[in-house]
Symmetry: C2
């Protein structure tokens, strides 16, 4: 056997591409395309049911890769619901239910099990979404596999494609904080950061973002209603991965080559994160673009409607960080006026 | 720490009960019950969407517990789709899509990965149901977590409860074959069974049932249309577990105490399975009632409509094996005229 034939040498993105390619060959054979509104690579599946649209997505969280050891079982349960609802929020759908399947190590303490279930149910309560089923199994490691179910009353679902030249690029909240929170916990850096002038408030916010992330479900529904948003997705794998993903999604459908330019000075907390990056001996670009776990929304706004949008969305937090152009690249306009290319480098399994 | 507090001392059924009980306390707080038509313990979740009903269920398959080592990766992928569609078939729903999330060991060979995906997609094709999404992750062991999505045009969904005294109990095909197939493969018994007069055809059928099970999706849709079926479920965890489960589901809703009596002489292949049980030094009751993995439908028929039903369902295989009574027990009428109580003993994780 050639060792290079093991899947660890392929990487998650390549494997997913293989699945998508195979599935496209199969789907054409038998599937009534009129009711399926999504492509297998989209954030969620979209199917017409009667006069409504079902928006549905699955996400699996694995102990070793998705849960910091500092996370309580309550936080793990809550996060699993957040992650699954974030995917359907990325499309502006209204959540109507969630399914959770569990693989649980047999030596888990019953109190930890109870905390896990409480976290799941409190999150369901927080997002006003019932737990409608699932499955419980014995496994070697804790795995929480969920399915978020949402609906839309109309066909105007927020998709990854749809943006056009000159549209403005926005995010629903601060990014890079999860990355900072992870580093603080992982390397016990709290004291050192405080000594170097980072506020304990910023540190707390970063730790809370990595341990207790929240999906922007209501904000996404409000964005969808606006009809001024031309595309959207949730930021799970890092802004870099998501920008590449929405560009690919667009290229696949539109054939014209668009690109994005992000203005460094418009990224919230850029100076603090740069400072922290130096203290951590890390590239700040990695913290902001490549770590992920932000669970914020990334969306594009029709530039002709920006004033109207600002008035409409004024009660919500958001940051306009760049615009769509025709560069066919993801670029970062640095504060020194130079332009840096942002390569695809977000989190990937099997790498 | 008290060792008895580890979840392995509780058993899957107790843990699921705990989840259901907690979730009931939470759900009442916030959930609009008008659209949710199911209870968390049902085969699938049922939600009204516009003028249709969504039927949705998740099932997780774990390498060590659900896949025999003799199974090819193609068979594992196919089985994952079967298991998930079997749950929505249990309600007579029309499948419209499936989501598959994977945890894959990093040392899996790319050909095995390809075979796994082919199995999933061929099953989708077989059941005429598109793969609409999922997730791919690195895990310590192979885990396939799926969500089957179906719809019903009307509220007449096949539920676990609904049967009444004197209804007839039926199954959609042979049971106990998966158990026999498992034993044959596990203990390399093929030669010995043939020497003892078991036909190679029966052996082949049993092996095929454990390696390549098929869900009775079309049969379930036909049953639902009949309006003569008073309850149904799919047999995943063994006939004993499913009979106890539908009785509990009924007791919870109806308060009256019903029971079931199964006639041993009406169980297909009973003589062959008894003979094999002796050769295996096993209890034939365990093979038929307690192993599971049958993926047949268990359903009850209004006894006043039995002639009409026989005419309606004549093109399909099925066996009437007993009837509903008021015993409040699950009983087996043996061929010698004696009655044996069937205890809850089906497959359970953490036991």
């Amino acid at each position: 056997m050639n060792k290079k034939d093991l899947i660890k040498y392929f990487g998650e993105r390549k494997l997913v591409e293989m699945i998508i390619e195979k599935s496209e060959r199969f789907q054409t054979k038998y599937f009534d395309k009129k009711s399926l509104k999504s492509h297998i690579g989209d954030d969620s599946g979209v199917i017409a049911i009667g006069n409504k649209y079902l928006v549905i997505s699955s996400d699996m969280l694995i102990e070793k890769h998705h849960f910091l050891k500092e996370m309580t079982y309550y936080q793990r349960g809550f996060k699993a619901v957040t992650v699954n609802l974030s995917d359907i929020a990325g499309m502006g759908a209204h959540p109507i239910g969630i399914l959770i399947s569990l693989a649980i190590p047999k030596n888990l303490h019953i109190n930890e099990f109870n905390n896990l279930i409480d976290g799941i149910l409190e999150a369901c309560s927080f997002y006003n979404t019932p737990l409608i089923g699932g499955d419980t199994n014995e496994g070697d490691e804790l795995i929480i596999s969920g399915t978020g179910i949402g609906t839309s009353d109309d066909e105007n679902i927020l998709m990854q494609y749809g943006f056009k030249n000159k549209d403005l690029i926005a995010i629903s909240g601060e990014i890079g904080l999860s990355a900072v929170g992870f580093e603080i916990l992982n390397k016990c850096l709290e004291k050192r950061l405080i000594e170097n002038g980072i506020s304990s408030e910023f540190i707390k916010k970063s730790i809370s973002k990595i341990l207790s992330p929240v999906a922007k479900v209501e904000e996404a529904i409000t964005l969808k209603k606006s009809k001024m948003v031309t595309s959207a997705t949730d930021i799970t794998d890092g802004l870099s991965t998501e920008l590449h993903q929405i560009n690919n999604s667009s290229v696949k459908r539109r054939k014209d080559k668009l690109g994005f330019i992000i203005h460094e000075d418009k990224i919230p907390n850029i100076d603090i994160i740069k400072k922290i990056a130096i203290l951590l001996n890390k590239d700040y670009i990695d913290l902001i673009f490549n770590f992920g776990e932000d669970f914020e929304l990334l969306f594009t706004i029709d530039s002709n409607k920006i004033n109207e949008f600002k008035e409409y969305f004024k009660d919500n937090k958001y940051y306009i960080i760049g615009e769509v152009n025709q560069s066919n690249k993801i670029q970062l306009l640095l504060t020194n006026g130079k332009i840096k290319k942002i390569n695809l480098k977000g989190y990937e399994h099997f790498k």
